[in-house]
């Protein structure tokens, strides 16, 4: 039996370290691997989406400031009567 070489039943023997162990997903990490798969495929849970959404909107709202004066002259041109931009 070479089970030890597959990463199972190792007893801390030095010889085990000589082998390049294949990647084996431990049975005890099924839940963890499920999360990783979901994250990798972009299907985040509702809690994560909610937190991200809140943080994103909070960040964006923090960038909203009154319109700087340097833009006002251009805006007045766009909004003056007869301009197409004034229709909205």
């Amino acid at each position: 039996m070479k089970r030890g070489a597959n990463g199972e039943g190792t007893n801390g023997e030095g010889e085990e370290m000589k082998y390049r162990k294949p990647v084996v997903t431990p049975v005890t990490s099924i839940e963890h691997s499920t999360i990783q798969r979901r994250k990798a495929s972009g299907t985040l849970g509702p809690d994560i989406l909610e937190k991200l959404g809140k943080q994103l909107r909070g960040y964006y709202d923090g960038l909203i400031e009154p319109v700087p004066e340097r833009f006002m002259k251009i805006l007045r041109e766009l909004d003056k009567p007869g301009s197409k931009g004034s229709s909205e």
Partner: protein
């Protein structure tokens, strides 16, 4: 038009990471809009039209400069005010840094859909991409952000006994 500018400016800051560059982008966008106002069709979405112009200007500039995140000249977005009702400055800065690590196409898609209030269809039009492409970019951006910010969903962990024990306070596993 006036109402669209604060959001346009926030979008520009999100893309460039720099307030002074963002203001230059907004000014150039407005000047182009003024020069090409005849190409705007009344009744269509003025805001989306402006965002499209700004996005194209940024992409054109980005291709030239190839460095859109950190800029030693001018104010960085992280130096902006942090109002009481806004997240703490630390959270703001952490989120800004994470956002800056996203590829530009993912960042713009996420901002347009998740913050600027555009639909996937409108974002696709602004980015000159397919709707499916925008959805994919937004998903990838969210996934990457969740990793960068270490956001975890306890409900995703499922029936793990140790976690359940912590949550319920019973049979705690040490």
């Amino acid at each position: 038009m006036l109402a669209a500018v604060p959001g346009l400016r926030a979008f520009a800051i999100s893309l460039s990471g720099n307030v002074d560059r963002a203001d230059d982008l907004v000014q150039e966008t407005l000047l182009r809009a003024l020069a090409n106002i005849d190409s705007f069709e009344p009744g269509t979405n003025m805001s989306a039209w402006l965002f499209t112009i700004l996005r194209n200007l940024f992409r054109s500039e980005y291709r030239k400069r190839r460095r859109e995140v950190e800029d030693g000249d001018g104010r960085l977005a992280g130096n902006l005010k942090s109002q009481a009702e806004q997240p703490s400055h630390l959270e703001f800065e952490e989120f800004r840094a994470a956002l800056a690590k996203l590829p530009p196409d993912q960042r713009e898609a996420l901002i347009l859909v998740g913050a600027s209030g555009f639909s996937y269809e409108e974002a696709a039009q602004i980015c000159d991409s397919a709707v499916g492409t925008i959805k994919s970019r937004v998903n990838r951006a969210r996934t990457r952000l969740a990793q960068l910010l270490n956001i975890e969903d306890v409900r995703e962990i499922g029936p793990d006994s140790a976690t359940q024990a912590v949550l319920t306070g019973q049979d705690a596993v040490k």
